[in-house]
């Protein structure tokens, strides 16, 4: 992308990463305040991956993500309002409040969740790509998943099927070195992920996941290859989770020092340095972002609870619902 070099674009990338960062810092507060419940998996530290990749996607491309998907949702254009309302469980949320943090959906954005089963989204992504091929549509389906998912059988089956049928899937592995408390070296007998991907016969690459512009460039290359009809691509983004796995994690499995080392490569700080974005400019962007997030919290607060009478909605299509239980007692 030519715009990539313009500092307008750099500012855009910074703003996008900051939106994710501030949104999630606020989510952590809202969790402590009891406004958000259940599981909350923060993406803080990994913002460059989602933000970088989204730059390479068009509106008609599809996204499949995991339970750690707030960053992807925001970067994809789902409003902070709809997302925060979903985190609160309000019916104004992007999933009507039914899904919560782990199940963000937006049909218009072709954002297919928000899947809480590790590797469960990969086969679905393969199918979305298959539908595009069958309909003769030139699109790519990008599937985000973690290093932990690579050990699952569904990873193997999906990689093989997509490569065998040359389907337009971008397998985007966010390698943050840990699956909950399990380091990749204790999960995979061999940790060179692109090498693994190549044995399926698909092009594979690895990129510094803390460098948003590098991610954008690598994703752009991969998407171009997929759209050129070369079949699926695999891209590993080497990144790190600054926060605990979830709000219940005591982090017994890693050294504080390791976390500190990685924090030095904070993707937001890195971009500021590289692109010389000064304090004043940063403060201005940050203020705007904080305003957006504050508004999102207000929106979620003002949101409404779905009436309990509607409990059994969304199990079957409305048309059906009446007919569904003929003799329901």
């Amino acid at each position: 992308m030519t715009t990539m070099q313009t500092s307008d674009h750099a500012r855009h990338l910074l703003r996008e990463m900051l939106r994710v960062r501030r949104f999630e810092e606020t989510c952590a507060e809202m969790y402590s305040a009891g406004k958000i419940r259940g599981f909350l998996h923060l993406y803080i530290g990994e913002e460059a991956v989602a933000v970088g990749v989204m730059q390479a996607l068009r509106p008609d491309d599809a996204i499949v993500a995991t339970y750690r998907e707030h960053g992807h949702a925001l970067a994809r254009g789902i409003s902070a309002n709809a997302l925060m309302a979903e985190m609160f469980g309000k019916q104004e949320g992007c999933s009507g409040g039914r899904g919560g943090s782990m199940h963000v959906f937006d049909a218009a954005a072709r954002f297919y969740g928000g899947n809480a089963i590790v590797a469960g989204g990969l086969p679905v992504a393969v199918g979305l790509a298959l539908a595009d091929v069958l309909a003769g549509r030139q699109r790519v389906t990008t599937c985000f998943f973690g290093d932990g998912a690579v050990a699952e059988g569904e990873f193997h089956e999906s990689m093989n099927l997509a490569a065998l049928w040359k389907l337009p899937v971008l397998f985007l592995c966010e390698n943050n070195l840990y699956a909950m408390g399990t380091h990749i070296e204790r999960a995979l007998s061999q940790q060179d992920l692109p090498a693994k991907a190549r044995t399926y016969g698909m092009p594979a690459d690895s990129v510094d996941g803390m460098d948003v512009m590098a991610v954008e460039a690598a994703a752009g290359k991969a998407v171009a290859s997929v759209k050129a009809g070369n079949g699926p691509c695999f891209l590993e983004a080497r990144t790190y989770r600054f926060r605990a796995h979830s709000m219940f994690d005591a982090e017994l499995y890693r050294e504080k020092a390791e976390v500190e080392e990685w924090r030095k490569r904070d993707p937001i700080v890195l971009l500021r340095e590289r692109r010389r974005i000064g304090d004043a400019e940063f403060a201005a962007i940050d203020a705007a972002v904080l305003g957006e997030i504050a508004a999102a919290v207000a929106f979620a607060e003002a949101g409404t609870w779905e009436p309990i009478e509607q409990l059994t909605r969304h199990v079957y299509a409305p048309a059906q619902e009446g007919a569904r239980e003929p003799g329901a007692s």
């Binding site: 959906f105 239980e325 007692s329």
Partner: protein, 334 residues
Amino acid sequence: MSLAPVNRTTYREAVREAIREAIRRDPRVFLMGEDVGRYGGAYAVSKGLLAEFGPERIRDTPLSESAFVGAGIGAALGGARPIVEVMTVNFSLLALDQIVNNAATLRHMSGGQMSVPLVIRMATGAGRQLAAQHAHSLEGWFAHVPGLRIVVPATIEDARGMLWTALEDPDPVLMFEHQTLYNMEGELAENAGPVDIDRAAVRRPGRDVTLITYGATLFKTLAAAATLAGEGIEGEVIDLRTLRPLDMNTIFASVRKTRRVVVIDEGWRSGSLSAEILARVAESAFYDLDAPVARVCSAEVPIPYPRHLEDAAVPQSAAIVEAVRALMPAPVSR
């Protein structure tokens, strides 16, 4: 009873014809599964379809149940109308995560935004001496899951007609074809087409006892009903057709009349679908009953290989007759 000319056919051909019609009728429809193409289908259901429609719409998959079932879900999300064949229910255990955690939940988790118009077909049941890993009857398990619709064609008409109706459903439909039915011969109206999948069917009317079943055991139940008729006991045989949602109206109407119920289910007794039906009758039609509810199911044992043990393990007409006799008032009192 249609007036149109009828042809002799088989259950297998009826399913094939239904697939052929669906593919012809809707460009979004395709069939995918293990060996559905070049091999012609493990039960020869899709034989000839590859030559007719080509590899785009008759897709052989690798041995990857989770991936191709999940791909069916994704393709449905993407606007296609996939028919996914899981060779047998025994292998569907490898795809349960996709079926239960994705197909059945996506509409709900997305607040109604997502729709999964997918049909998954599988062969089911015992009866061919395939032993413990190849003889499961797990329809009842799937009928437990909100978000799924479960249909079981027992007759040639339903084998021919249920698929299109299932494909028109905006939600995932699982269709179970008992492996002993494929060779069943019968007549089918030339103009046979889609059938409703909302109602159970009374396959034989009767006043004395309600016999509720589905799938291949329908025919063992009808045989038992014939035997019982010889003894003056008129059984009303209900073919459930759809296991989720259950058509309780048809069941309750029959029970109000007969005041006796026997469910025949090839699943292992404990926790099979038969339990749900007996429970609903005992909950909602308790005062209509003149006798305890009863059932004839498979013994609580993995299906053994030898014919005599397999026959003893699954429901047979004789056992159904026995169960009914035990429910009827002593002859003197009649």
